[in-house]
């Protein structure tokens, strides 16, 4: 019986990449995320917005395995990944960037990228150290893939620079490149435009669209820049104090009274 249900479930949700059911995170008495239901379909760009402290990053951390939800389930391509460790979730095709850039600061741009390829390595530490033929082949493959990615992302010129020496915008760019190096299906971006000027934000918007197309990705992002969110999102979820106060297309969100009151209304006032 159960397996039959599962089969039907998969047929219906064939193109659902990520689904969460009642995902809840409680820190002591504080409910950071309350009963979040997400459905992210293949090739969509989905945004998670909300005021500071709404629980957006907490939701990301649950999806990527940094936190185990207090209750609820997370499904990646139909498989339950609740409580799976972050490295395993990455190997299943979920890559992420961080709100406060977390590059390997003292390493070069190239090293930052190639480290993200390591988990695909089958040679053990002995054959890698002693440079056995299999390990040499794998190292060569990883190098070629990394070089190609650097070229594609326009970072080839700075490949030997130390990551922390890059300008801020390029560091964010490198973080996205590093996430792509893990060959993800689903890319989670935590405030990719934070600290960027309007021009940089515009470039980033174009870049995200392009990346989705080139790498055949599904994108889930947290962002405060409303221009960017409204322009690229297929679907938006709005969180406020852990509660989901709105979901739908950009147009629906803009006309959602609750959302406007809680969040966008403030923004409008500020603009006037």
């Amino acid at each position: 019986m159960k397996s039959k249900e599962k089969v039907i479930d998969q047929v219906i949700d064939k193109n659902v990449v990520l689904r969460t059911e009642n995902m809840t995170m409680q820190f002591g008495g504080v409910v950071a995320v309350d009963n979040l239901h997400l459905t992210i379909r293949e090739h969509q760009i989905v945004a998670l917005i909300g005021p500071n402290g709404a629980g957006k990053t907490t939701a990301f951390n649950m999806i990527t395995g940094v936190y185990t939800p207090s209750s609820g389930k997370i499904f990646l391509q139909g498989e339950d990944i609740t409580g799976v460790s972050p490295d395993k979730i990455t190997r299943r095709g979920v890559a992420r960037t961080f709100q406060n850039i977390r590059l390997f600061k003292d390493l070069t741009v190239f090293e930052n990228i190639i480290i993200a390829k390591h988990f695909s390595m089958k040679s053990n530490v002995f054959s890698a150290t002693l440079r056995f033929p299999g390990a040499i082949r794998e190292e060569k493959r990883m190098r070629e893939e990394s070089e190609a990615l650097l070229e594609r992302m326009g970072l080839a010129d700075v490949r030997n620079d130390v990551a922390s020496s890059l300008p801020y915008g390029q560091q964010r760019h490198l973080e996205i490149a590093r996430a792509l190096a893990t060959n993800p299906n689903l890319l989670l971006l935590d405030e990719p435009a934070a600290g960027m000027n309007p021009q940089e934000t515009e470039d980033l918007t174009a870049s995200i669209m392009q990346i989705r197309k080139d790498f055949n990705l599904t994108v889930f992002l947290i962002e405060h820049h409303m221009d960017l969110v409204m322009e690229i999102s297929d679907r938006i979820y709005v969180l406020d104090f852990g509660q989901t106060i709105g979901k739908g297309s950009p147009a629906e969100i803009q006309n959602n009274q609750r959302v406007v009151e809680a969040y966008l209304g403030v923004d409008d006032d500020a603009e006037n």
Partner: protein, 362 residues
């Protein structure tokens, strides 16, 4: 580019020949005391490298080096001790029957010591390295003491507080000590430059990001820790053979601080820095020994010069390093021919700005 590569290869070949010639010269011509100090430098290099792999490259804070050394040292001591001498050495309580008749050659015993130390590293690392933070420092500090107490009380195996003497002298030959330390140096360099070495550095830089890149933190931390423990065990085995005697008091956890000093002085995360610092620290400790002797000038005895004063000076030097050269001699960089030639070119440019321009153009 190609010229530089050629130059570097030629330089490396010359260096290898020079090192071999120097070892050959030192081995036959220098007096036994100096050879002994040089051997100790080489052995300290091995242990310094093993500690730098754990602390400097992987960013784990381990203070267990003395414990790993002790395991390696005792393994070599017990298994290389000639069978006919065992009853005279173990005169308080006869040697445990299970090992009393097992005798190993130096190299197998050395490797076995490394393996035992590696197993010990796994046993402490497996529970502790699951946690984030500096629990490892506390656990390894405790481990070192446990090992020492075990060595003191396991009479039938370790001969207790009496220690083991008459250990065959293998490491007091520069071919052995330098040969093995060069092998370890090459192996650790290759490891650091492999994909695994990059991952160790990534964990040091940001473990959360490393985990988000699909890296199993626990597996790689344990790997680094076990490899570090293995090489410290090898170093300990050589140490036992060099001294010819082991007893539990040699392996107080203060011994670990020598290696901590070496890696801090050389640079956390620099292989060449560790090599340089090993020689400076080991040599320095010997030179400073003069301060422990009473000094009489013009019939007046200077009261500062008494046992322990050398350590005071040493500590002051350490403070100076920490205050003014926080990154150590090398930081996280390595010596390379390119760097060396650039350095000389810079010095040249300072003294003759005109010729330097022409030199640079070439």
């Amino acid at each position: 580019m190609k010229d530089k590569k050629k130059r570097n290869i030629i330089c490396t070949i010359i260096l290898v020949i020079v090192v071999i010639a120097l070892i050959n010269f030192a081995n036959t011509n220098l007096d036994a005391y100096v050879v002994r100090i040089l051997n100790l430098c080489a052995i300290y290099t091995i242990i310094g490298l093993s500690m730098n792999l754990i602390n400097g490259f992987t960013g784990l804070f381990s203070l267990g080096q003395a414990g790993f050394m002790a395991i390696g040292a005792y393994t070599v001591a017990i298994f290389t001790l000639p069978l006919d001498m065992r009853s005279t050495v173990y005169y308080m309580e006869p040697m445990n029957a299970a090992i009393a008749n097992i005798h190993l050659d130096f190299v197998p015993a050395l490797i076995l010591g490394g393996i035992f130390a590696g197993i010990a590293a796994f046993l402490i690392g497996a529970p502790v390295l699951r946690l984030r933070g500096d629990y490892l420092a506390i656990a390894t500090l405790g481990f070192s003491e446990i090992i020492r107490i075990l060595l003191t009380n396991w009479q039938s195996v370790t001969n207790g507080a009496l220690g083991i003497n008459k250990i065959p002298d293998n490491a007091n030959n520069m071919w052995w000590s330098f040969g093995i330390s060069i092998i370890v140096l090459v192996l650790i360099s290759l490891l650091i430059r492999s994909s695994y070495g990059r991952v160790f550095k990534a964990i040091r830089e940001d473990d959360i990001a490393a985990e988000a890149m699909g890296i199993n933190l626990f597996k790689h931390k344990v790997m680094s820790f076990v490899i570090g423990g293995f090489f410290a065990g090898i170093g300990g085995g050589l140490y036992a053979s060099l001294l010819g005697t082991v007893d539990p008091k040699q392996f107080y956890f203060t011994l670990t601080y020598n290696f901590l000093l070496i890696i801090v002085l050389g640079g956390m995360g620099s292989i060449s820095g560790t090599v340089i610092a090993s020689f400076i620290v080991t040599g320095g400790l010997e030179i400073l020994r003069g301060f422990d002797e009473p000094l009489v000038i013009g019939g007046y005895e200077i009261s500062l010069f008494r046992p322990g004063f050398s350590m005071v000076i040493f500590s002051v030097l350490l403070m100076v390093i920490v205050l003014f050269y926080r990154k150590g001699l090398m930081g996280r960089t390595e010596l390379s021919w390119d760097r060396l030639f650039n350095f000389f070119a810079k010095i040249k440019a300072k003294f003759s700005p005109k010729t330097a321009k022409e030199g640079g153009a070439k």
